[in-house]
Every structure is written in C-alpha cells, then in structure tokens.
Symmetry: C3
Subunit: 258 residues, 3 copies
C-alpha cells in the first residue's frame, strides 16, 4: 500500500499543488496521495517542521512524506531524500526536517542528484513539481534511497530554543501558537509540575490536568499532546487573551525543594 503525504506552503488556489499531484499520479499511479496541509505560512520552515513532527511517524512504515517549503528554490541549497525510522521523506535541506532528525532513532539521507531515474529539473522556480515530486514517486514505487543521490551526514537542523535558569526562575518562551490560540512553551515539564503555575508577563496561570478543570474563558496551563507545557484558555484563545505570540517570554519559579 504505497502512500505519499503532501505538506506545502503553496496554498491550493493557484494550482501548484494540483501540478504536484498530477506528477505523482503519473509517476506513481498506485500510490495514495494524502494532503497534510498547503496552508503553512510562506517560507515558514520552522512551522512546517513542527507540523511534520506531529505526523511523520504515525503513518505506517514505508510511507513517503513529501515536504515542499522551499524559499531557497533556485539557490544552492541541497535537496534531500531520507529514511528515518522506516518512513521516507523528500524535500529541501533547509531545516524543514529538523523534527525528524531530532526525534528519529535512526536515519540515513542522500542529497538528490540528477540521474537516469531522476532527470534534472526543468525549472529553477518549481522544484516541487519538477524535482521533489518525481523523487517521491520513485521512492513510493520502490527505488532504493541510495540510487537517488550521495550520502549526507550533516543536514540542516534548526536548534530547539532552550529554556534557561535566571536566579530563582526558569525562563523560556512560546515556541508555537496553534489554530486555537494555545501557546506551547519550552518550559521543562517536570519543573512546571512542581511549580504548579506558569507566569506570562504579569499573569500567574495555574497548572491544570485537563481543560475540564477550568471555567469557560479561564486561563490555564497544562501538558499538551506533545508533552509540552502549554498555556490555554478554555473555549477561547490564550494568544488573543494575553496578546502574545511565538517568542513571548514565559517563566516558572524554581520550586524551593530543588
């Protein structure tokens, strides 16, 4: 059961995604194609990496994840095909696979090279259609990874933003805002549990176990589905209520017993 998923920043209305799907349908007619998203903000490699981190390993082994967030198309950036924990991935080497490289137990990657299998791209502006989609189709139809290019051992990996100790505080920041306005942070989960509350600006926000422990419209902190400390509003948007976004400072007081 060959399967190819598709994550881009193309929107859908210009027909670029249609072009990629047409190439996949032609080159890998048996593979099922599933949309993940085409609504990644243009060029937002970090956002795409976070999204990819949520699904790549939930798909069955052998799935090919095609990721085209490619602000550097036409520059010298490398292009990658990789196998990570039995899933295959194709896309530009610009950090979009950071979540994969950071989470995978094992991986191997190649820098895609033109070959008898994979002709050099026709365009310098649309490698999604002319280069990455044919490569994904080749992987989905059984071409071995090492037939597609040269080994890469140093792919681009965007570093995770660390939290840090400052006096009696652990200071971190908002690393992601989702569609619901939930603020995911890089605060350490264990210490947040001990502290029992999170501070955003001047607001102290209590840690709860579930949304159900807060009133409608009330701020709460909780562990999100990725095991991160998250600030939320029940039935509302914490981003809007607090007026903050990615990069905003958050902190917890270090519990005295530590």
């Amino acid at each position: 059961m060959a399967r190819i998923t598709l994550l881009t920043d193309f929107g859908t209305e210009d027909g670029f995604v249609g072009a990629i799907k047409g190439v996949l349908a032609t080159h890998a007619p048996v593979a099922r194609v599933e949309d993940i998203s085409h609504a990644v903000p243009p060029g937002d490699v970090r956002k795409a990496s976070l999204a990819l981190g949520r699904y790549w390993r939930l798909y069955p082994p052998g799935t090919v994840h095609l990721v085209v967030i490619d602000p550097g198309v036409g520059t010298a950036r490398r292009s990658l095909a990789l196998r990570a924990d039995e899933r295959l991935l194709v896309g530009p080497d610009n950090g979009v696979f950071s979540s994969v490289f950071l989470k995978a137990l094992e991986w191997e990657a190649v820098d895609l090279r033109p070959s008898e299998f994979l002709p050099a791209p026709d365009s310098d502006t649309f490698h999604g259609r002319d280069w990455f989609a044919p490569a994904a189709a080749l992987l989905a139809t059984g071409t071995p990874l090492d037939a597609l290019g040269e080994d890469v051992s140093d792919p681009v990996v965007l570093p995770a933003v660390p939290s840090r100790r400052v006096g009696e505080w652990v200071v971190g920041e908002v690393v992601e805002v989702d569609r619901f306005g939930n603020l995911a942070t890089n605060l350490p989960e264990d210490m947040a549990r001990l502290a029992g509350e999170v501070c955003v600006g001047e607001r102290w926000i209590p840690l709860r176990r579930t949304y159900g422990e807060a009133e409608s419209g009330e701020l709460l902190a909780l562990m999100d589905s990725d095991h991160r400390v998250e600030v939320s509003v029940r039935d509302g948007s914490a981003a809007r209520q607090l007026g903050v976004g990615v990069g905003a400072g958050v902190r917890i007081r270090i519990p005295p017993e530590r």
Copy 2:
C-alpha cells in the same frame, strides 16, 4: 470499499489533521480517507452539524464519518459512535450530530468505552488522534458498533430554531451564512411561496425561482438546495449587501387567504 471522511475545526497547518490521518492509515490501511473540511470555526458545533447534514447520507452505506469538533475535550462529555441510516459516525456528544439525529429514519448510538479493542486515550487534549480516530478505524475495519461502548438513547441534539407567528407576520431568522454570503432562513417554505416576498429589516425581497431571474447585483429570495428559504444576491453576497449574519431577523407577511 471502506471509506472514512474527516470533518474538524483543526485547520491543517499545525499537523493535527496529519496525526489523525497517520493513525487512520496505521489502523485501517485499506480504508480511503476523504477530507470534508478542517476549516470549521473553532468549536462551532452548530456550523459543523449543518455541514454534516449536507453530506453524511450522500456517501454510500458503510461509510464512516469522523467528526472532531471537540471544545469540551478533557471534560466529562461523552463520546459517541453511531449508525444512522446505514452510515457510521464517530465524535463527541456535544450536538455536532444534531442534523443526523434530526434527519435519520433510524439510528443507534453507543458511548465509547475503553476496551481490549480501544485503549483509553493517551492524552486529555487530543482525543481526535488518541480516541476518535482509532474508533473510526475499528468501525471501518468491521468491528461491530456494540463492541465499542454502552447504548446511548439521549444524545445531545441542538434544537432547530423555530419561526413563529406574530400578528400578521411569520417571524424567523437567518440560521446559516455560507461562503457566498447567502442567508439561509428558517421561514416556512410553503408560506414564503404564497407570500412571494421576504422582508429583512426594511428591505422587501422578491421570491424568484432561480438566480437567472435576477439581475447581477440584485437581491432575491429563493429555495436553496436544502429546501430552505434563502436570501441571496446574484453575483454577490447578501450578507455583505444587507450587513446581516446568523441570528438576524427575517419575516414574511401571512397571505390573507390562509
């Protein structure tokens, strides 16, 4: 031909939908997954119910409709699996299935319970991935409904908003605004036909049979594809032209012969 459709309020760019699809691909690899929408406004159960009402029974018998509009995740709300007129549905018991319960000729529902088939969810914040998707995959792969939980006879059903008689008027309201700015109302179809016109605020709007009977930019009322009295503008948006939305008052004068 197992088929699972997906309606959520998750947007796509955070990768949450990708996570759900990954779970479906793993647990029901043969089932085809079709997107309905991920653009339901966050938590808008009524809107999702109206959308669901448009497609659930147009799909073939045996289709599984997964619906994750779940503002109450982590609270005590029940979770449902149901069979209605030979289609299967899975999602929270918060009114999102109202259209189904109101239209189905016959239905049976269960409150999902953890079991050997369906382990308790890992998270309290993402039941779409950890609870509803595995349940949908089980139904799509032939697990009987009654193996998944206890019978429910009193699911949450959002009442339809009634129109009412006030003197010589029937007074109703706008119950839905679609992407084109068409205003669907709860006015009675037969009486609107007799009255021949609809009043929104101070504007009298004539009833037509088709858009073709109005000029471009002209307001008209007509029977929509769900057999409701709808106020529209040919080649335009009635919502914008009239400056009204869901809940706005509409009325017709009761024909004298009745």
Copy 3:
C-alpha cells in the same frame, strides 16, 4: 485506475464539497477523488482557468477533472463535458476551461443534456452536486462522452490579455498574482531576455536566471515555471513591496537591435 479531481470556489466548511464527494463515492465508488482546491475566490472563473491550466495535462490520460466555479448556476449557461488531449473535464461553459481550449492539441466537447444516464438536476442552485458530479462519475466509470450531450464547437473562451507596442516600449500587464506575491505578466519572453530588465511603475527590475542571483528582499524578474516573465522578491512578496495587483501595467524597452 479511475481518478476524479475537484476544483471549486465552495470553501469546505459549509459541507457543499462533502456533498459532491458523497455523490462521487456513490456513483463512482472505485474512482479516487483528489482535491485540487476549494479556495478559488467566489465566481473567479479566470483564476480557476489559470489554476486548471497548471495541472490538467500533468494527470494521466483518462483522469476526469471536475470544475465547479459556477456563478451562473440557474441561468441559461450551458454545461460542458469535454475530452482534451486524453483528459476529461466537466463543468459550466463560462470560460473556466479557457486554458484547456487554448492549450489542447485536440478537443471535443458536449453540452450536457438530461438522459436516462443523467437525470435533470433536482435543484437550480447546486448543479455541482446534482448535475456535474453525476456527469463526472459517469465519465469516470466509462460512459462515452457523446452519450452525455450534444456537440459544442463554440465554448466560452476568455481571451488572453495581449501586450502591445507603444513607441519604443512593449507594454503589458500583471495577469496573475500567486500566493507568494509573485506577479506573472504577459510580456514577451524573448524580448524581455534581450531587454534584460522590466519596468513596473517607476521601478526598473533586473532580469535574473534564478532567485539565487538576488539578495533576500531584492526585486527581480525571471522566467516562471509557466515560461512567463514574472516579477518577484526573494523571500518576500512583490505584490506587497510594489503595491500592485492583477491589471497593473508593466513594460520593457524594445532592444535597439530589433
């Protein structure tokens, strides 16, 4: 491997697309359905035609492309099924197939007529569900084109906007703006290459071969993936930086040697 693609201006959240997909699943259960876009601006036939032009012929022969951008639903506009270069297409005769008619090496088209195969539509407001989707399903399941209607030799084709000579200039315009803010123009490719720069308003913009030859944030002109002269900003939006959109004037100075 029957395959149906879907391009509409319906958005997804109202469930209209779900209704169309339900009809396709019922009438052509084996066909795979792939979304192209549902985000075409309401009624924007020209935009849809440009998008369609990007993918229709990249899909394999036999693919059915269903296109429902139908601002004239309920008027006397004809409805078309066509075969163009071995791909099949279904939708209203309002210019939405212009790119196909302009590019196809050969085509034949019919005006859809009610028949034993294709009953007259139930509604006058939702032909996507009641008329075009059943027709697409018929084509995907092998019904011959000429069984569906009467030959059409004069479909609606929106004319391409020409550029023109004015003194020492070739004057054209922006014909499309994509999600990234790139400005596609109708300037002649060969003459732009010789001129080496493009003028938008008072700004002279140099022609480059790739994005990589410009600095981040710098304006450049280049040949886009559809072989048009395009004005772009590396890592940015030319539409925003120049404050222009579709219809804006662009020009090149005619090279003296011509």
